[in-house]
């Protein structure tokens, strides 16, 4: 098991390097001059030149590349070209809000989606199943930012039950702030996980070992949870990884709608202002997030499935 974890981590190293390289390349082929973007159209040639010198933009590309790699590995992303503050500090301030939002939305999605899926699977082709089908259709059809706007208007503006913007201070206040945006993101997750749970559980419940469980005297309940769901966890783990990643991309729009701090919102404003250093850092953080979640999923697989563990 330790060996498996170690190998998975080693596997992630080239992925991280590749991701950093892609970020670097993407930044260089982006149209527009960062110096002009930072200093404005009225800046003199001397001002632009000195800015480029300061930011290392005059160095040969490969020097810039290795400088970037080295800096990224030591978590040094330079200063924001706009505000001059350390990018690391910006990330450190915004990241917890995004993580919080991601976790909250996944938890809500799991809490609603999985039991709904179990209910539908154990009542296949009956009304609970139809209810799930309807719910999933709606869940898949409503974009998260639109749902977010609706929730915001109804529950924050009209009913005044939730704050209108910001991330909140202290645990309770933060949870209060995160609830609506998380709900907006969780809707499609519940729909997705519900369908997935239903399909996975129905497939597993038709397996021979489930019949064996019944034949040895396991109750229906025990058969479904102990033997069925336990095996359905394998496809569910994959789905959980996918939906967690979707929460990241979804957070960009939802953070804008709810005007709450987060990497997504930071990234959007950085792109609008061509704040290269911040964009670079933001994209890197997102990419590392994806790698981390994938490694995590691999570990969960190993816990869930003994066949993977012993390989």
């Amino acid at each position: 098991m330790t060996r498996y974890i170690f190998l998975r981590l080693v596997d992630a190293v080239p992925t991280v390097l590749l991701v950093l390289t892609l970020v670097f390349v993407a930044m260089r082929i982006l149209p527009g001059d960062p110096a002009v973007a930072a200093l404005g159209d009225l800046a003199t040639v001397e001002q632009l030149e000195s800015f480029r010198e300061r930011m290392g933009l005059n160095e040969p590309l490969w020097v810039q590349y290795f400088t970037f790699l080295g800096n990224a590995l030591t978590l040094d992303f330079g200063q924001s070209m706009m505000t001059g503050s350390e990018v690391v500090d910006l990330i450190a301030y915004n990241l917890p809000y995004t993580i919080e939002l991601t976790i909250a939305s996944v938890v809500l999605g799991v809490v609603f989606g999985i039991p709904f899926g179990i209910w539908a699977a154990t009542n296949a082709n009956q009304s609970p199943d139809a209810a799930l089908r309807g719910f999933s259709l709606i869940g898949y059809s409503i974009p998260d930012f639109y749902l977010g706007a609706v929730l915001l208007v109804v529950f924050s503006l009209n009913l005044g039950l939730f704050p209108i913007s910001g991330g909140g201070e202290g645990f309770v206040d933060r949870m209060h702030h995160v609830f609506l945006p998380a709900l907006a993101l969780a809707f499609i997750k519940a729909a997705f996980l519900g369908r997935l749970t239903r399909a996975a559980l129905l497939e597993v419940l038709g397996k021979d070992y489930v019949r064996t469980a019944r034949a040895k005297g396991a109750s229906e309940r025990r058969t479904i949870y102990r033997h069925g769901l336990r095996n359905a966890l394998l496809p569910l783990t994959t789905g959980l990884g996918l939906t967690t990643l979707a929460a990241l991309s979804g957070s960009v729009a939802v953070e804008m709608v709810f005007n709450r701090p987060g990497i997504g919102k930071l990234l959007i404003s950085a792109i609008a202002e061509r704040d290269y250093a911040v964009i670079q850092a933001g994209v890197t953080v997102f990419a590392l997030f994806v790698v981390a979640i994938n490694v995590l999923m691999d570990l969960v697989y190993a816990i869930v499935d003994p066949r993977i563990r012993t390989k």
Partner: protein
């Protein structure tokens, strides 16, 4: 048969599909198994033998199919009258089952020791240590090397034959009175088949359990069973002790089956085969289900289903023609 039968099937019909309008896949099957007795149930694929065994365990999902007619008695009590929780308690303790597919019949994410221990736990073994000890003992009984060390192993670390041994260990862990084995050796190599059959004999000897062995292979049945029930297209066509079946098969279908077995020293180039193919369940609505393929068929065979006639030595078969020739008695009331 000794004393009152352990399991009795009385005129059991099983129907698939919607109630009342479904397809009858098993019709009017009646036989009994005495305590400690080993009975074979033989027939081709689709003859209804597996469905019959699942019906005894009440493992056919209610939406799929059900016993539409007749009754199944275990120790004189109707299994069909039991509530689901009562039936759950019977499964695994009073009667257990092993299946054809050893590769897929064990839960892949549970250690084999835990799976055996679970069967015990479900039937009143509350002490964890005792369960562990019993599970190890069962693994040893079925010939798993190093049972103590293999307790924590998972099914994928075992071969098919070893998995079937584990299935047997699990099935007999609670000392059931009846073990239903549905094609337990079909998926295994011939040498492993022999080992598993030997194991079943050993288990029978040590636990005294009755066995209902389902197989399409008369050789397997002959090896282990005293009495045989032959099924064809959802109908029971013959029942007799194994010697009578092999020497004087009374039903033309059984005769055809025996002729199909390759004979040592036979000069013929081709193996014998019964003409035609097995009809779909419920396809033949009138008369004897075998009449379209039967070399002896007469007019009445396509008209009226023959009852089970009583031949000599307790042999019973459902055939107008052979019964008449043998002067067998009509048994309106099935023994």
């Amino acid at each position: 048969m000794t004393g009152a039968p352990l399991l009795e099937l009385h005129d059991v019909s099983i129907e698939f599909g919607s109630p009342g309008r479904g397809l009858t896949v098993v019709e009017s099957v009646s036989f009994a198994i005495g305590a400690g007795e080993t009975v074979g149930l033989v027939g081709e694929s689709g003859s209804g033998k597996s469905v019959t065994s699942l019906a005894i365990m009440r493992l056919i999902p209610g939406l799929v199919g059900r016993v539409a007619k007749g009754d199944i008695l275990f120790e004189g009590k109707s299994l069909l009258a039991l509530s689901e929780p009562e039936m759950v308690d019977v499964r695994g303790r009073e009667m257990a089952m092993i299946f054809q597919e050893p590769m897929s019949s064990l839960n892949p994410v549970m250690s084999i020791g835990d799976q055996i221990a679970e069967a015990l736990m479900l039937h009143g073994w509350s002490d964890r240590k005792a369960r562990h000890a019993r599970a190890v003992e069962m693994l040893r009984l079925v010939g798993i090397p190093n049972p103590e060390g293999r307790f924590k192993a998972y099914p994928h670390e075992f071969s098919g034959g070893m998995r079937q041994r584990v299935m047997i260990a699990m099935a007999v862990a609670c000392n059931p009175q009846l073990l239903i084995a549905d094609e337990p050796t079909t998926a295994l190599d011939v040498t492993i088949q022999a080992q598993v059959l030997e194991l079943m004999k050993k288990v029978r000897q040590e636990t005294g359990t009755a066995i209902l062995l389902i197989s399409h292979d008369l050789g397997v049945i002959a090896d282990i069973c005293k009495r045989v029930v032959v099924m064809y297209a959802g109908r029971m066509v013959e029942e007799a002790d194994i010697a009578s079946i092999l020497r004087t098969p009374a039903h033309p279908y059984t005769q055809g089956l025996l002729k199909s077995v390759p004979q040592r020293g036979s000069q013929s180039e081709r193996l014998y085969q019964i003409a035609g193919s097995v009809p779909m369940a419920g396809a033949i609505k009138r008369g004897c289900p075998f009449h379209p393929r039967c070399p002896m068929a007469e007019a009445r065979c396509s008209d009226v289903m023959p009852p089970m006639f009583r031949f000599a030595d307790g042999q019973r078969a459902a055939c107008w023609v052979t019964a008449e020739r043998a002067g067998a008695l009509d048994t309106a009331v099935v023994a």
